[in-house]
């Protein structure tokens, strides 16, 4: 891709970001301020209800609780029925979110050792997952390609054009994949997690594009569900993430392929167009040059003839009349002969119209009615200009 295209797309992305920013601001800021007001009201109410608590103590407690929650400890409820956030299945899930680069963030390492290990783990794990994704996506693509080939064989009997078949098969692929990897999980999550439809779709999209905010995480219910169910649930979710990611990657690469093909075709077409245009321009300019050359030669010839005739005339009529600028019969005869010539060369007059116009206006051969003595210099000048 050329620099211009790249920078154009880049500015498009920046513009897209700005649009997103304004829309998000318009949508979210009112919500945020109402939340702020609500929680402040809650705090004041609490303080009012329990008069023995002073504001700073409460703030202290809240600060500690918030940082504890960020470390993953939920202080609500009592200590007995708490499941750890770092038992094997949750750690497994966390490792999975690190490798797939989703990174929910509801759990994150807090020890220095944990963080360093996380870095090294991700360094090795992400390429590994990349290979896996490539392999799975490839297999998915092969399976689907075989299915589509069969469908195409059926459709070809109906004598539909190749591109239509291609488009239809891609649509089928996208629809089928959406059904299995998006619609079905949405229903399941709605059922198990108790989210609304929008929230389930939101979770599925945010997870499968590996954005992974972490405001909704499958399997976060913690102590309320029975833990054995969770132990099976989370690995299944991880498996779904793997296959769903492969599907999304396949769709994206298909879109990328299309774009590449389209851009190549466009490049070819544009290149072809440019080649034709260049050819045409070259032809036209060559023709034009040729015409000008012919014209200049013609004019030069004519001037030479005129000059020789003039000399003959002046030698016949005597030197006195040569300085007379009026139209002598000889000159008139000359201009008439030129007129005849003009008819013989219609193209010449057309392209030379400004010059002949000027010549005709003064009714004489020379521009600005100069004396014949300057004729030679003017001839040369005109010929130079024509060249």
């Amino acid at each position: 891709m050329r620099w211009k295209t790249v920078s154009a797309i880049f500015f498009l992305v920046v513009f897209y970001l700005i649009i997103g920013a304004t829309v998000f601001r318009a949508l979210e800021q009112p919500q945020e301020s109402s939340q702020k007001l609500a929680i402040l009201a809650q705090k004041l109410e609490f303080l009012a209800m329990h008069a023995c608590v002073n504001s700073s103590e409460l703030e202290d407690l809240v600060k500690q609780v918030v940082s504890a929650v960020r470390a993953g400890v939920n202080p609500s409820g009592n200590a007995s029925n708490q499941t750890s956030l770092w038992d094997i299945s949750s750690s497994f899930f966390f490792a999975g979110t690190v490798i797939t680069t989703i990174g929910f963030g509801n759990i994150s390492p807090h020890t220095e050792g944990g963080r360093i290990f996380c870095i090294i783990y991700a360094l090795l794990g992400i390429p590994l997952f990349g290979f896996l994704l490539a392999g799975v996506g490839d297999q998915l693509g092969t399976i689907f390609g075989k299915g589509i080939a069969k469908v195409e064989k059926m459709i070809v009997k109906w004598k539909v054009s190749q591109t239509k078949i291609r488009v239809i098969s891609t649509l089928i692929f996208i629809l089928f994949g959406c059904l299995i990897f998006v619609a079905l999980p949405v229903v399941i999550f709605k059922q198990i997690e108790g989210w609304s439809t929008l929230e389930s779709i939101y979770f599925v999209v945010i997870t499968l594009t590996t954005i992974g905010f972490g405001d909704f995480v499958a399997g976060e219910k913690g102590g309320s569900e029975n833990p054995e169910f969770l132990n099976y649930y989370k690995p299944v979710v991880l498996f779904w993430i793997l296959v769903g990611l492969a599907y999304f990657a396949a769709v994206l690469s298909m879109i990328g392929d299309w774009f590449r093909v389209i851009s190549k075709k466009t490049k070819e077409e544009v290149g072809e167009f440019r080649a034709h245009a260049a050819e045409w321009t070259a032809n036209v300019s060559a023709e034009f040059k040729e015409t000008r050359r012919r014209l200049s030669v013609d004019i030069y010839d004519k001037f030479q003839r005129a000059a020789s005739i003039k000399r003959k005339l002046s030698s016949e009529l005597g030197i006195n009349t040569a300085l007379n600028q009026e139209m002598t019969p000889g000159k008139r005869a000359l201009s008439c002969s030129l007129c005849e010539d003009r008819e013989a060369y219609p193209n010449l007059t057309l392209s030379l119209s400004p010059i002949t116009g000027r010549l005709a206006r003064n009714g004489s051969l020379y521009l600005n009615g100069l004396s014949p003595d300057y004729a030679d210099r003017r001839e040369v000048a005109i010929i130079e200009n024509l060249k």
Binding site: L27, I39, Q42, V65, S91, T111, F213
Partner: protein
């Protein structure tokens, strides 16, 4: 059929290895983090008990209050007195959010609260993520030539063999990227953010540039941060350029793997140069390495490889 069977075998091998790797990670994380978590939980319990003992508050109302506070805090709304008055959704912060959405980093320190916001995020991400990936790949393709192909060519002209030349160049590139995009920004962050250590800075840089984006560390979210908008915009720029460099590194590794025969051995898709290759090369077909390694011949990214492989303008109507 043999190759198909082999590819399935390889795939199963990969999946198995992946599962084992995950288990290993789970074990290590669990053993490292769990004791700390337990201790923290005990501390918070003690704090709560202390608070309840001292005051007239009963446990139930405290629970209710804490739940509400935590719910608000999840969305970035803080109840603390000295919390910044700056909104989480002013223009620069919203742009920061949109950027984390579109680069798939997704910190999660602020998330859409309203239903409309969530629906809009879905649409925005579905369009924006492929678009950003496209832009990044396009940029990487362009800078691939001056940063990778030209130096390797230079090294080869000095007399090195292709394989060691690529390795040497890769090590150099890696060192430069680590220095400029991990060490330096980490130092800057540890200065600008009061509670971050240098290790925290490196951890943040790594987690962000791999687009994992856990969200436990997010810059420019401290209350009373000076020049917050400028800070956020510069972090955005850093993320974008850093992501580009990571993509570049990945592409270089992929090309190196192509050159050293790893991708054909593991039957993975080859690294494609979309402006050179006409059709995507089939994954399994050539077991033996090509005569001229693709790395070398793709030296000048603007020239076509073989004139016959590129459709010339004359053949468009027939092709």
């Amino acid at each position: 059929m043999h190759s198909v069977g082999r590819s399935w075998l390889l795939l199963t091998g990969f999946v198995l290895f992946y599962v084992i790797y995950l288990l290993f990670g789970a074990l290590v994380f669990s053993s490292v983090e769990r004791p700390v978590e337990d201790k923290l939980r005990q501390d918070v319990e003690a704090l709560k008990r202390e608070f309840l003992n001292q005051s007239c508050v009963n446990a139930a109302s405290l629970e209710r209050f804490l739940l509400k506070v935590l719910a608000a805090n999840k969305y970035g709304v803080s109840v603390l007195r000295n919390a910044s008055v700056a909104s989480n959704w002013d223009l620069a912060s919203s742009m920061f959010f949109a950027n984390t959405l579109v680069t798939t980093v997704g910190y999660g320190h602020t998330t859409p609260l309203s239903d409309t916001g969530k629906a809009f995020s879905i649409l925005y991400a579905l369009i924006g993520v492929p678009f950003t990936m496209l832009v990044l790949t396009a940029c990487v393709q362009r800078i691939m030539h001056p940063l990778v192909l030209a130096p390797v060519g230079l090294l080869q002209r000095r007399g090195m063999q292709p394989r060691p030349a690529t390795v040497v160049h890769f090590v150099l590139l890696l060192a430069v990227v680590v220095l400029c995009f991990f060490v330096m920004p980490a130092a800057i962050f540890s200065v600008l953010e009061p509670s971050w250590s240098f290790l925290d800075g490196i951890y943040f840089c790594f987690i962000s540039l791999c687009t994992i984006g856990l969200g436990d560390f997010v810059p420019a979210t401290q209350p009373r941060q000076k020049y917050r908008q400028l800070y956020q915009v510069s972090v955005m720029v850093y993320l974008f350029v850093g992501l580009m460099m990571m993509f570049l590194l990945l592409r270089t590794i992929h090309k190196m793997a192509d050159l050293h025969g790893l991708t054909t051995f593991l039957q993975l898709p080859r690294c494609e140069e979309s402006d050179l290759d006409d059709a995507r090369k089939p994954i399994v077909e050539d077991r033996h390495e090509a005569q001229t390694p693709p790395f070398l011949t793709e030296k000048e990214a603007s020239k076509p490889l073989e004139p016959g492989s590129q459709p010339s303008y004359n053949t468009i109507n027939t092709g």
